[in-house]
């Protein structure tokens, strides 16, 4: 029984893992561009680098579980033009993140904006218009 339960658990975990997103910078195919999520959490890491900057954030949900979110935005060159620097966020900062979530439901997103504890709002760069709709795919 114990083995059977373990096997089922492993299979479910495998299916869930397989459903996690595969996506690249500059693509929006993995994101649900009709939704956004707003999360209050604690910054665990702010990575100011190419190809995209990354924010890691611990969020405690209604059940008391801590969920480790990661959200991307664009590269330092682009983000510097939206008021961001490598020092915009630091470990321990309490922030509110609004992001496009990925379709799979994994705790992964793309930054729409971040509100710092002092009320300052840092806008992300989101442009789903660069995505091509399936119906627009040419037939060669």
């Amino acid at each position: 029984m114990r083995i059977k339960l373990a096997a089922i658990s492993f299979a479910v975990a495998g299916l869930l893992a397989a459903s996690l997103p595969l996506f690249a910078h500059h693509g929006y195919a993995s994101y649900d561009t009709d939704r956004k999520v707003t999360l209050k959490g604690t910054v665990t890491r702010w990575i100011w680098s190419n190809p995209h900057c990354l924010l890691q954030l611990d969020v405690t949900d209604d059940s008391g579980h801590v969920v480790h979110w990661v959200a991307e935005t664009e590269n330092p060159t682009a983000m510097s033009r939206a008021g961001w620097t490598d020092k915009s966020l630091k470990v321990g900062d309490q922030i509110t993140l609004t992001a496009l979530p990925v379709k799979s439901g994994a705790p992964v997103g793309r930054i729409i904006d971040v509100i710092l504890s002092n009320g300052q709002k840092l806008p992300g760069r989101v442009n789903p218009a660069t995505e091509v709709k399936p119906e627009d795919t040419p037939k060669y």
């Binding site: 114990r2 339960l5 373990a6 658990s9 492993f10 479910v12 975990a13 869930l16 893992a17 459903s19 996690l20 595969l22 996506f23 690249a24 910078h25 500059h26 693509g27 561009t33 009709d34 939704r35 956004k36 999520v37 707003t38 999360l39 990575i47 680098s49 190419n50 190809p51 995209h52 990354l54 949900d61 579980h65 991307e72 590269n75 330092p76 060159t77 682009a78 510097s80 033009r81 939206a82 008021g83 620097t85 979530p101 439901g105 994994a106 705790p107 806008p123 992300g124 760069r125 989101v126 442009n127 789903p128 660069t130 091509v132 709709k133 119906e135 627009d136 795919t137 040419p138 060669y140």
Partner: protein, 293 residues
């Protein structure tokens, strides 16, 4: 032991995947454009041009300077800006049968033929190959510095910290040259303000643009740099490859750069393998296998 080995990771993974966000909304997010000029590579504010500034006349035979396009439209994520791979009929390219055949061999991770990142064969993302020419003009065209000597024009591209030389000393193309990523470029002033650059000898491994448009060894690229006035430089790029396309087509049409101050320090923009690996680990593949892009 078995229980801990399988059940605990299963519960943790399920919690991670199924945990709902604290609050969901259904209104569609809006786009955002650059909100301020930002900082240059030295951490100093980018001043930009004053809106009411009246530019001085263009200097003769001179396109030197540090050039930028503030709206960042040089990124061209869907392929060449003037012919993006967005599915619109007016942007369909005049492929030859061979061109179509070669197009089907490229698997870009953006545009109408987009594949999953792990399935792309984009030489830049899969292998770290140079973009080469003309792709350097057609993907991530950002701050561009132009230097001139009596014999040449040297272009320094921000993306990848890449440079190339355009010879303006009147030389001919080499005979039967070995292929190069950036080919062989010669430039000629056709009037006081227009430098026309022809390039041949590009390596066939490169793509024309981010959308995987193909080219052959017969590719010839024309870049037409036109100094509109002291503060503005216009670039038009034309692709001519009779093996792949039935006629020449314009990939970049009158793309306008703005002159930056001579003291502008261009920010580094290098996609290093280690940064790629970290990005893919955190964003692209939580299963542990490294992705190509």
């Amino acid at each position: 032991m078995w229980k801990h080995f399988f059940v605990v990771p299963g519960i943790v993974l399920a919690a991670l995947v199924l945990s709902p966000p604290l609050r969901s909304q259904t209104d569609k997010p809006s786009s955002s454009a650059p909100t301020e000029p930002g900082l240059d590579g030295w951490g100093r504010p980018i001043t930009g041009l004053a809106k009411d500034r009246k530019p001085a006349p263009a200097p003769r035979h001179d396109i030197s300077g540090i050039w930028d396009e503030p709206e960042l439209t040089g990124i061209q994520p869907l392929g060449a800006k003037s012919a993006p791979d967005d599915g619109k009929p007016e942007h369909q390219l005049p492929y030859t049968p061979l061109g179509l055949q070669e197009l089907k061999r490229t698997k870009p991770s953006n545009g109408s033929r987009s594949v999953l990142p792990g399935d792309t064969n984009d030489p830049v993302f899969s292998y770290g190959d140079p973009q080469g020419l003309p792709r350097e003009n057609l993907y991530e065209l950002r701050t561009t510095q132009v230097l001139q000597t009596p014999q040449s024009v040297v272009i320094l591209y921000q993306f990848g910290k890449t440079w190339r030389v355009i010879w303006t000393d009147g030389r001919e193309f080499p005979k039967d040259p070995e292929p190069r990523w950036y080919g062989y470029s010669v430039g000629k002033w056709v009037d006081d303000y227009t430098l026309v650059v022809d390039t041949v000898g590009m390596d066939e491994r490169t793509w024309v643009d981010r959308a995987g448009r193909p080219h052959s060894a017969d590719l010839r690229v024309e870049e037409r740099f036109r100094r509109l006035d002291h503060d503005h430089l216009e670039l038009t790029v034309t692709i001519d490859d009779p093996k792949m396309y039935t006629k020449p087509w314009i990939a970049l049409d009158k793309f306008v750069f703005e002159l930056q101050p001579a003291s502008f320090d261009v920010r580094e923009m290098i996609w290093s393998p280690s940064e790629y690996e970290r990005y893919n680990k955190l964003m692209g593949n939580t299963g542990g296998d490294r992705e190509n892009h």
